[in-house]
Symmetry: C2
Subunit: 182 residues, 2 copies
DNA sequence: TTGACGATATATCGGGTTGATATATAGAGT
DNA sequence: ACTCTATATATCAACCCGATATATCGTCAA
């Protein structure tokens, strides 16, 4: 087995404690890691097959009536592979923020329209914050503290970001006023 | 012209005030928007041709000796297209953070190894912070305030993130001690 | 009870994106 | 003369995203 993609480890992580179908993995990703590591069906299903072939997970058919369904669980090899990956220093960090991109080029707009970008960005951050809060409410007590730490980190981040937008808006407004009174 | 990709607008934004070659666009992206919107040669060169065909930019051959070189500048249509895009509320926000992903699954490791993830993440944030500081030093005075606002936002973000890692490490250490003294 | 609707389940595909590699010339330094 | 880096463009496999297609299940209201 050569290099697995990070998405493969997402799958290993999610089938570690309970067997899950591809559909369930997608659902749980969309409510958790999606905010910092997304995965689509187009990745999940092929990857499940590859991982099963490599012996890192095993699938079993558990049909619901006449609708077929395969759930996967991790093997001992899979657990070891997951832990080995966790021990390596994280590399990838990527961000694509259309808001920051527009703000970067905002000089092409009249100043009042430029400020509107910051207001949109703030609204976007607050919307994310609410989604995360809803997820936080859903979660019961669990002994594994890490998912909650990450979730709370997301909450703090969205709050910091919203606040930054607000401060930058105020700052630009101030500097515009100063200029006028010069 | 149907929907342009956000990367097309990156190009429009960077050829707005001065003519640039594809190579120069890549270089300037790598020193600025790259942290929140990257672009590769594989996107830039084809996109330059599409934009030229659509009349949003115009290219002119400016060879250096016998090495050919095409620089592009924006047209009036291109400027209008860029402004129209800037006026629309930003949508895309994506993040891929292998550190957060590992932290999320860190329960699969012994606690002391899990803490190592937070230490790596903090180091990664501090390294980015230094890169941004180096870029900040390079920039002289310019009348367009937005690139600097975004850069300073990046600095503040990396500081917030590094601090968060530190706090979470301390918190986990504390809770481990409490458990032991129960 | 039938029909509509949303959830479960898997598969596929066009299009965007990445990172690496290939080719070639220019210029600076040793 | 040679080497190394920067400039300049092109290409490609691999990966990833969002949307769509297909089909069954369970539920609830007309």
């Amino acid at each position: 087995m050569e290099q697995l993609s990070a998405t493969a480890y997402v799958i290993l992580g999610f089938v570690r404690n309970e067997p899950r179908s591809g559909y369930e993995i997608k659902a749980v990703v969309d409510n958790s890691t999606r905010f910092f590591w997304a995965a689509s069906y187009g990745q999940i299903y092929p990857e499940l097959k590859r991982l099963a072939e490599a012996g890192l997970i095993v699938g079993s058919d558990v049909p619901t009536g006449s609708r077929k369904r395969t759930v996967y669980e991790i093997t001992a090899d899979g657990e070891e592979e997951l832990r080995a990956w966790l021990r390596q220093a994280p590399q990838t960090f990527e961000m694509r923020d259309e808001g920051l991109l527009k703000l970067f080029f905002a000089d092409a707009l009249p100043r009042d329209e430029a400020l509107e970008i910051l207001r949109s960005m703030k609204a976007q951050r607050l919307a994310i914050n609410e989604r995360l809060r809803a997820i936080e409410q859903m979660k019961g007590e669990i002994e594994d503290p890490f998912p909650m730490i990450v979730l709370r980190g997301g909450l703090e981040f969205s709050e910091w970001f919203a606040d930054w937008c607000e401060r930058m808006e105020a700052q630009l407004l101030d500097s515009a006023l100063e200029k006028r009174s010069e």
